[in-house]
């Protein structure tokens, strides 16, 4: 499935694609060639928070991500969707350099956060991760008290002067994560004793306690029941006011509910990107259409 000579050349702004009527009259798909691997859709936004250009990721000899370019706008929720192994999580982990921890993983290309190259030698990864927080697939609170979980980030970064400030920050973070009411009385109890959904919101509280600019969420609801999922989605919607959120999800409904833009990945390629409404109602690439209509994935 290597890059075959392209029949259709899509300009990066995605304004026009040569129309190639498909056999299916119900579909508006313009690109029916499954081997077409150039990104369809507009990758740029007006006020980008992060810009990624030509990102390639290799695990040893295997290439996991092929020449991905996209912008992440400020205060938007962007969803990455795609079948398993498509590289969406890999790309997400490039954004705060969590891939650095994987032996044999190599990232090439350019990723900028506010015009600053995050793979630049002079940039400290600790500083980057304080600015780009992350919430993981499986809720992973530290085996410490609820209070200590939220207080950890501000403490290691030295963001507070005294205990009173820290207390206020912990309370505020729990409040913003919508968890305060449930745990107010038991801040000293271990965070691992909470339910799965509460644990995940605790992880979100922990992430926002350091006031990051971007929050990365790697399938944050895949281990949760529908009620807990609904709460997290509601929270994501509220957090959008202050943060830029990148969410990887397997649930297309979730992507449709929470995100403004959606990017569809397939086998390491960014196939299509666009407004969420357009992706789900009017996909331009046959692969995208197949995926969102449940033909594979």
């Amino acid at each position: 499935m290597s890059t075959t000579p392209l029949e259709i050349n899509t300009p990066l702004d995605g304004a026009t694609t040569s129309s190639r009527a498909s056999g299916n009259p119900l579909s508006s798909t313009q690109i029916t060639d499954y081997d077409h691997r150039q990104t369809v859709g507009k990758i740029t936004v007006d006020n980008p928070k992060m810009t990624c250009r030509g990102v390639n990721v290799y695990y040893g000899a295997k290439q996991a991500l092929k020449n991905v370019s996209l912008d992440i706008g400020a205060n938007e929720v962007i969803a990455f969707i795609g079948p398993s192994g498509c590289g969406k999580s890999t790309f997400l982990r490039c954004l705060n350099r969590m891939n650095d921890t994987i032996p044999g993983c190599r990232v090439a290309g350019e990723i900028r956060l506010d015009q600053e190259d995050i793979y630049d030698r002079s940039l400290d990864v600790v500083q980057l991760r304080a600015r780009v927080g992350m919430v993981f697939q499986k809720p992973n609170p530290f085996p410490k008290s609820i209070y200590e979980n939220v207080a950890y980030g501000p403490r290691i970064h030295g963001m507070v002067q005294n205990k009173a400030e820290l207390d206020a920050l912990v309370i505020a973070s729990l409040e913003r994560a919508g968890l305060l009411k449930e745990v107010e009385k038991r801040l000293e109890e271990p965070g691992t004793g909470l339910s799965g959904g509460q644990q995940q919101r605790l992880c979100i509280a922990r992430a926002i306690a350091v006031n990051p600019e971007v929050i990365l969420m790697d399938e944050p609801c895949s281990a949760l029941d529908p009620i807990a999922t609904a709460k997290i989605e509601e929270l994501i919607d509220e957090l959008r006011e202050n943060y830029t959120i990148v969410i990887v999800t397997h649930s297309m409904q979730q992507a449709a509910r929470v995100s403004q833009r959606t990017a569809y990945f397939h086998l390491g390629d960014l196939i299509e990107i666009g407004e969420t409404d357009q992706i789900f109602t009017n996909p331009r690439h046959k692969l995208t259409e197949d995926y969102i209509t449940g033909r594979f994935g």
Binding site: N96, M98, T101, P103, V126, Q127, L128, R129, A130, G133, M134, F136, K138, N140, P141, F142, P143, Y152, G153, I156, H157, T192, C203, R206, A207, V210
Partner: protein
């Protein structure tokens, strides 16, 4: 997609086929369980046998025979000038008092040879005991006091029933004459068995009744202290570095293979290494717990490193990711989260390594901790021996009374082993976390 899926196996009576093989399968399972039971019972039987043998041999050593002597603290013998000068009191002939006292109990005994046999009833420590009493309380001089002194090891062995009196006189270490004296003393209520505190308070001795394990215990304590202080921090630091910080390349692979091999090196080789390096090259003192501890550290380190790495790998990666994702540096991730979670496992491994070091004797023979040392060591530079070596030394001695002491020392060693392993289990149960 609506086509019915054809069965993979040809249509036969599946039930009958399964049933036919069922008896065979169940029989195989029963056989396996039986093998397991037999293996466990055999193992347990040997453990019980070992404990029964050691305890039955060793428990008499915790009791010791004493003789009551009416001692006349004769002023003419102790302090002829009457000045109560401590120096004079210290150098007086207390053995004469013991001899006189024994003579007074058996006035009919005459002749050099018989008298010498009579004097041998009391332990050679009796005069020392009298001297201590006089120095402690000089007003004793001039009075006659009943004093309980240690019986000799032969008498003790006889009283404990370890010498068959029906044997021919030439075949037993105690003569008919001695037996008559002992019977007389027993009839007069002058024999008593007391708890053997000497075993725990004294160092080694050539006289079994005066020999104790205190010296060896202290030697073991100092040796293990050095071992722990060296091997635990170094082992933990090595494990953390190798597991969390070191790049995975050919060199670290080589180091890992070598550490695993070191854990399997016979311990006597470490003893030879210690002799060549610590004593011959660095000139450290021989027989010292310091050198013993260094050698045992070399032996324990691989065990601690391997246990430590296993404990570190068992910390789930999600905790590491959480910490790194928060912007913790690698050292903060390890120090705040991974190490505290791995610590119970590391401690367990270390304690088990220490228990192994406690039971080790071969490498210590090489560095001279096998000497006959009477003094109780007061530090890690004093000559010392350790419990297992003490057992080895005593097991070599011909006196019947050392047999029970050997077993008693083994019991003490086993008690410490069980204690340490128990502590390891408690630590693990107490602090173990599950995810």
């Amino acid at each position: 997609m609506n086509k019915p899926i054809a069965p993979a196996a040809p249509a036969r009576d599946i039930k009958a086929i399964v049933n036919a093989g069922l008896a065979h399968r169940h029989a195989a399972e029963r056989r396996f369980r039986l093998y397991g039971l037999v293996a466990i019972s055999l193992g347990l039987a040997f453990v019980v046998l070992m404990f029964a043998s050691i305890i039955s041999k060793g428990y008499p050593a915790f009791w010791q025979t004493y003789i009551e002597l009416p001692v006349a603290f004769d002023a003419a013998v102790i302090d002829p000038e009457g000045k109560r000068d401590p120096k004079v009191l210290e150098n007086a002939d207390y053995a004469a008092l013991v001899r006189a006292s024994l003579r007074s109990l058996f006035p009919q005994v005459e002749g050099r040879r018989d008298l010498r046999a009579l004097y041998a009833l009391a332990s050679s420590s009796a005069p020392l005991q009298l001297r201590a009493a006089v120095l402690d309380n000089p007003t004793l001089i001039g009075s006659t006091q009943p004093v309980w002194v240690l019986a000799s090891a032969t008498v003790d062995t006889f009283v404990k029933g370890n010498i068959d009196r029906s044997l021919d006189e030439t075949l037993r270490p105690i003569k008919d004459q001695d037996i008559a004296w002992v019977d007389k003393l027993r009839a007069d209520d002058r024999l008593e068995r007391r708890f053997n505190s000497i075993l725990f308070n004294h160092g080694d001795s050539r006289e079994p009744e005066q020999a104790g394990i205190r010296g060896a215990l202290m030697g073991s304590f100092y040796t293990l202290l050095v071992t722990f202080l060296l091997s635990f921090p170094i082992g933990v630091a090595t494990a953390v570095y190798l597991e969390e910080f070191a790049p995975k390349n050919r060199w670290t692979d080589l180091i890992e293979v070598n550490i695993n091999n070191l854990a399997a090196v016979p311990s006597i080789v470490f003893g030879l290494l210690g002799l060549a390096v610590f004593i011959n090259f660095f000139g450290l003192p021989r027989s010292a717990p310091l050198v013993g501890g260094l050698v045992l550290s070399l032996m324990t380190l691989p065990v601690i490193i391997i246990a430590g790495r296993a404990a570190l790998t068992s910390v789930p990666p999600s905790i590491r990711e959480a910490a790194l994702g928060m912007g913790a540096s690698k050292l903060q991730m390890v120090g705040h989260h991974v190490l505290p979670l791995a610590m119970p496992g590391m401690l367990t491994g270390s304690i088990i390594g220490m228990a192994r070091a406690l039971g080790e004797s071969a490498p210590l023979l090489m560095i001279g901790m096998v000497a006959f040392i009477v003094d109780i060591p007061k530090g890690m530079f004093d000559p010392a021996t350790v419990l297992p070596v003490q057992i080895y030394l005593w097991a070599d001695l011909p006196e019947r009374a050392f047999v029970e002491r050997t077993s008693a020392a083994i019991m003490v060693l086993l008690a410490f082993m069980i204690l340490m392993n128990g502590l390891a289990i408690i630590l693990r149960k107490r602090f173990e976390r599950r995810w």
